[in-house]
């Protein structure tokens, strides 16, 4: 007898108990606090550095620094949260609430007016030492890249540590401050963190 009627107890119990499923649309779904719903950008904090765009595995985020646009294609986003880890200002976050389905993919745009870039004075690097540093500094003049006033600089390496792209090389013993321009994304974190305020963008 033990080999049959094994399931009867479960059946009887289920017959007289409430359904385990929720009456969904009538009874709204509860999302836990950590639920990966969608990416939210605290746009006041955002510096449009573009790190989220560079690190998005699906390429869902597009940042247009010059136009002042931060765009996200919610349908391409996979809610991995890598951008929130990479964001230097920590203005991106994952919050509950899923994107509703739609007939076609669209981008969500956050926009702010950006002042037209003003040409910078050409001779900012007054006390630049000779050699490649000078060339570097001269090359970066006036196009939004950071440049250090090396007469003020104490080579504390704070800027290099804060650089999200590791584009800065600072050596205290050799009095060297170098920028790898191809890696720089002009986020301005180095200038913000400089204790001597000797970096200008």
């Amino acid at each position: 007898m033990s080999n049959i009627m094994n399931f009867s107890g479960t059946i009887l119990k289920n017959l007289f108990s409430k359904p385990v499923t929720k009456n969904y649309p009538a009874e709204p779904a509860q999302y836990p606090e950590r639920s990966r719903g969608h990416i939210e950008n605290d746009f006041d904090q955002c510096i449009l550095c573009g790190l989220c765009m560079r690190n998005c595995p699906t390429g869902a985020i597009v940042v247009e620094k010059n136009e002042g646009n931060w765009k996200i294609n919610r349908f391409d986003c996979i809610q991995c949260g890598y951008c929130t880890l990479k964001c230097p200002k920590k203005c991106l976050s994952i919050v509950p609430g899923y994107q509703e389905p739609g007939p076609e993919k669209f981008e969500e745009v956050q926009h702010r007016d950006v002042p037209a870039p003003t040409p910078k004075p050409a001779a900012a690097d007054s006390a630049a030492p000779a050699g490649e540093n000078a060339a570097q500094a001269a090359a970066s003049t006036g196009d939004g890249y950071p440049q250090a006033d090396l007469s003020q600089c104490v080579f504390c390496t704070l800027c290099a540590k804060k650089c999200p792209q590791s584009a800065l090389t600072v050596d205290r013993t050799e009095k060297k401050w170098e920028l790898a321009k191809e890696d720089c994304i002009q986020c301005g974190l180095c200038a913000q963190n400089c204790p001597k305020k000797c970096i200008s963008m």
């Binding site: 107890g9 836990p32 595995p57 996979i78 890598y82």
Partner: protein, 359 residues
């Protein structure tokens, strides 16, 4: 000798939602030979390493599969950590273990449900998936995702569990243990279920070894092969023995998986009792240079992750060998001589995941 005919099976089949196609050479109702063909859903995930850097790749690799996504991410991360000689903090390793075992519970419950569905016991199928749902809720609470968790990174994990969450997980697995003990009787000793499973698709120990079977499929034939013994994550600090069975038929595979759920429950209890406080992850600097073969015991068996870095942020090669890939030859063996009506069950008992097989 009867007349031979070839019956195509799949890639679309009512009982089997996996895109595998088999040409079954039949003589009357008996199968003489099965010729598999896969490749309907090849996505080329492996070649994405050329475009995504090694840290972004974690999110790609864990999307190889929707069931063992956590373990895919973890296996990949551990292979990179081996190359870069990164030591993951103890708490990170224990959290990985807990999530791994939760994945095992939910994968095996899913499989039990599918098996019940395949032999036509639908209310049993509902019971299994009802339990699985609770585990998914626990995943959502701790990681934020129900299917894809994105909590692994090279160097550790991203999210922590607090006391309350661990307590809720323990309560859930207590409940699952209680419910599964009830259902276990139906799965293993019910008369009708036994007729469908006992003696069907026998794979002997020698055959399992000679055909390179892995995971519960091999363990059901008596092969002691559990990669957790190799000691990744926090498994070296936990006490467990591989679950095996002797018969090698569908019933044995079912038994192994049910006992593995109980084992996973036990491992979560051990891990939550021993979990130390501390950091979740270490900062990883630089790029991987070198190569490593990482092997992980997934719910379906041994998975191999081969990473080869060249010192830049893009890897030269990333290769995932999923357990189903290794189990297909064994499955073809069990199909030989079987009845046509048993084909869905035989394919199911290797717990196939064709999408991860093709990557």
């Amino acid at each position: 000798m009867g007349k031979q005919s070839i019956i195509p099976f799949g890639p679309q089949h009512p009982v089997l939602p996996e895109p595998i196609h088999l040409d079954l050479v039949m003589e009357d109702e008996k199968i003489l030979e099965a010729v598999p063909s896969i490749g309907f859903v090849h996505r080329g995930l492996e070649s994405l390493v050329e475009k995504k850097d090694y840290q972004e790749m974690v999110y790609v690799i864990e999307r190889t599969c929707g069931i063992c996504s956590f373990m895919h991410g973890m296996g990949y991360c551990e292979s990179i950590e081996h190359i870069m000689q990164v030591e993951v903090p103890a708490r990170g390793r224990f959290l990985r273990t807990i999530w791994c075992e939760m994945s095992r519970i939910h994968s095996h419950l899913l499989w039990l449900g599918l098996l019940a569905d395949a032999f036509g016991f639908e209310s049993l199928f509902y019971q299994c998936w009802r339990m699985r749902e609770k585990i998914l809720d626990m995943f959502e609470m701790t990681t934020g995702g129900r299917v894809i968790f994105s909590v692994n990174k090279v160097g550790g994990v991203l999210k922590d569990m607090d006391e309350d969450q661990i307590r809720q997980i323990l309560e859930t697995i207590d409940w699952i243990e209680k419910e599964l003990t009830k259902i276990k009787k139906t799965f293993l000793f019910d008369y009708t279920v036994e007729t469908r499973l006992r003696g069907v698709g026998v794979l002997t120990k020698e055959q399992a070894h000679d055909l390179g079977a892995v995971g519960p499929f091999a363990r059901a034939s008596g092969v002691v092969l559990d990669l957790r013994k190799r000691g990744y994550a926090a498994y070296p600090e936990l006490d467990f023995e591989p679950v095996t069975s002797e018969d090698g038929d569908c019933w044995a595979r079912c038994e192994v998986r049910i006992n593995e759920i109980f084992q996973a429950i036990d491992l979560i209890r051990q891990a939550s009792a021993k979990i130390p406080a501390g950091d979740l992850a270490v900062e990883v600097k630089g790029n991987p240079e070198g190569e490593y073969f990482m092997r992980v015991e997934q719910p379906r068996g041994e998975a191999v992750y081969f990473s080869k870095g060249n010192g830049t942020k893009f890897l030269d090669r990333m290769r995932v060998r999923t357990p189903t890939f290794a189990n297909i030859p064994g499955m073809l063996q069990t199909l030989k001589g079987a009845d046509y009506a048993d084909v869905p069950i035989l394919i199911l008992t290797i717990d196939p995941c064709i999408s991860c097989t093709e990557r």
